[in-house]
Symmetry: C2
Subunit: 93 residues, 2 copies
C-alpha cells in the first residue's frame, strides 16, 4: 500500500521541479529548512499540516489541488486489501 | 487556512458515522486506540501515514477516494493566500 507521505512528497517534488525551482528557494519561501523539505519530498518525513500548508503556499498550490493530484497519482485501481480475518470480524460485528 | 489533519479527521468521522459504526469498533479493526482515533477525527492528532492507512482499511475507504472527498470538502474556492512580502520574494527570486 502506498503511504500518503510518499505520494505527497513525490507530488510536491514534481510540482517544484516543473516550476524549475530549487529546494533552496522553496524552503526559504516556505520557511522550512532545506534538509526538512528534501526529506518530505522523499517521503521520509511526515510533514505537519501546518508545514504542508506553508509548502503549498510557497508552491502556489492550493491544498485541494494537491490532494486531487495525489489521488490521481495513486490511481483508480488502488484499493486497500482487507485481510480475510478483518472482513470476517466486520461481518460478525 | 484549513489544516489537512482537520479536514481528514472530519471526513473520517463522517465516513464512520455514515456506516453507523462506533469509534470502538473501527478502532479495534484498525488496531489503534479508541482515544487516538477520536483525537484524529477531531483534528487534534496528526496521524502517521501508516495509521491513516489502517483506518482507511478499517473503513473500507480507498486512500485516493478519501483524498478526493477531502478535496471536495475543502471546496473549489480555497486558495492559499500568499503574503505580499512572499510574492515580492518570488518575483525577485
Amino acid at each position: 500500500m502506498t503511504l500518503l507521505r510518499e505520494a505527497i512528497g513525490e507530488r510536491l517534488r514534481r510540482t517544484r521541479t516543473s516550476q524549475r525551482r530549487t529546494l533552496r528557494e522553496v524552503s526559504r519561501v516556505a520557511r522550512v529548512s532545506l534538509g526538512y523539505l528534501s526529506e518530505v519530498e522523499r517521503g521520509r518525513k511526515e510533514p505537519s499540516s501546518e508545514l504542508l500548508g506553508s509548502i503549498c503556499v510557497a508552491l502556489d498550490l492550493p491544498l485541494d489541488e494537491l490532494l486531487r493530484r495525489v489521488a490521481d497519482d495513486l490511481g483508480p485501481v488502488y484499493l486497500p486489501e482487507v485481510p480475510d480475518t478483518l472482513a470476517a470480524e466486520l461481518v460478525a460485528a
